[in-house]
Amino acid sequence: MSQVTRSYWQGVRTALPFLLVMGPFALLFGVLATEAGLTRVETTAFSVIVIAGAAQFVALQLLTESAPLAAVILTGLAVNLRMLFYSAALVPHLGDAPLWKRALAGYLLFDQTYGMAIQRFETLTGMTGTQKYAYFYGCATPLVIFWYGFTVVGAVAGNLIPEGYPLDFAVPITFIALFAPALRSLPHLGAAFVSVVATLALGWVPYNLGLIIAALIAMASGAALELWLTRRAEGGSDAA
């Protein structure tokens, strides 16, 4: 098996535990969308074309409240705005590739694929660009299959989620699993702390934009801490 094939299957394997959430979450979207009056085709197209869980649920909620379509679209996009940061953070790893590969990576870029990929790329040095792409597509494959598949199941079969399955909290747990392994240095811890405090403090900002502002402040904090630690280490050696 070549290095590239191996990277692909390592990506697939890393993604497997996340299916525990992706399946039921997509199922729920299928159920709620058809209950809200979307046809099965519209429901499926929603998951295939938009492919962003949180934004889909928010848009659906606003549609059922008969909000103006412009508000539905802009709110959904605001919820997805955080992915600008993901796209930027992956440039050093996925930037050097033909346009179609980058476009496909753009389509497949969501919280889980970004989180898994960046953990791998930052801890395992020496991966080639092709291996990185293989790993990224590997992470995306099972997630996307489940996302499409269970949307259809939910739209056709109705609610199959057992009573008491704590779905609301399955999603936060997977997000924690995506950032906790990255809390490996003081700047990372500092950025995470600032992210929590600032997001909670900015909860009143409309359209979920508090999260975006908080992310900018938290990134700046992490970068500043890193710079301060580097300078202190250098300064220490000068003094000695």
């Binding site: 996340f18 525990l20 809200a36 197209a45 929603f46 938009v50 848009a59 008969s66 379509l69 539905v72 679209i73 959904g76 996009l77 997805n80 955080r82 992915m83 600008l84 940061f85 993901y86 796209s87 930027a88 953070a89 440039v91 050093p92 996925l94 930037g95 346009l99 980058r102 476009a103 753009g106 870029l109 989180g115 960046i118 953990q119 609301d168 909290f169 999603v171 936060p172 747990i173 997977t174 924690i176 699993a177 950032f179 906790a180 392994p181 990255a182 995470a192 600032v194 992210s195 997001t199 909670l200 999260l211 908080a214 992310a215 900018l216 938290a218 990134m219 992490g222 970068a223 710079l227």
Partner: protein, 107 residues
């Protein structure tokens, strides 16, 4: 939802807009080098976005009407601890889910 709602317009605009957001930097910057100060900020994207995304869901879950709830707090703590200690998303998910499902049986 009013019967004449143009669902396809919503799907199309959200789809195109979301793709442009995701494709933005990978698409436009491509293989050009980013300055060091930008890279320094980008190293903290994951820990700057995701903890903030999670915090309100952990502290004030919709499912409980917005009041903090013990099994969810314990599950979040377990997922966090396991993730930090093992450096593995798998064990983080196992610890978090395990705590969430077992907590009501124990307490």
């Amino acid at each position: 939802m009013p019967p004449d709602t143009n669902i396809w317009l919503v799907i199309f605009c959200l789809g195109v807009g979301t793709f442009l957001v995701r494709f933005s930097f990978i698409g436009i910057i491509g293989d050009r080098d980013l300055p060091e100060w930008v890279l320094r900020h980008l190293r903290y994207v994951a820990v700057a976005v995701m903890p903030g995304l999670v915090a309100p869901l952990v502290l004030w879950p919709d499912a409980t009407g917005g009041t903090p709830e013990a099994s969810r707090l314990a599950a979040a703590g377990a997922a966090l601890l396991a993730g930090v200690l093992t450096r593995s998303p798998l064990w983080s998910i196992v610890a978090g889910f395990g705590t969430l499902l077992l907590y009501p049986l124990i307490f």
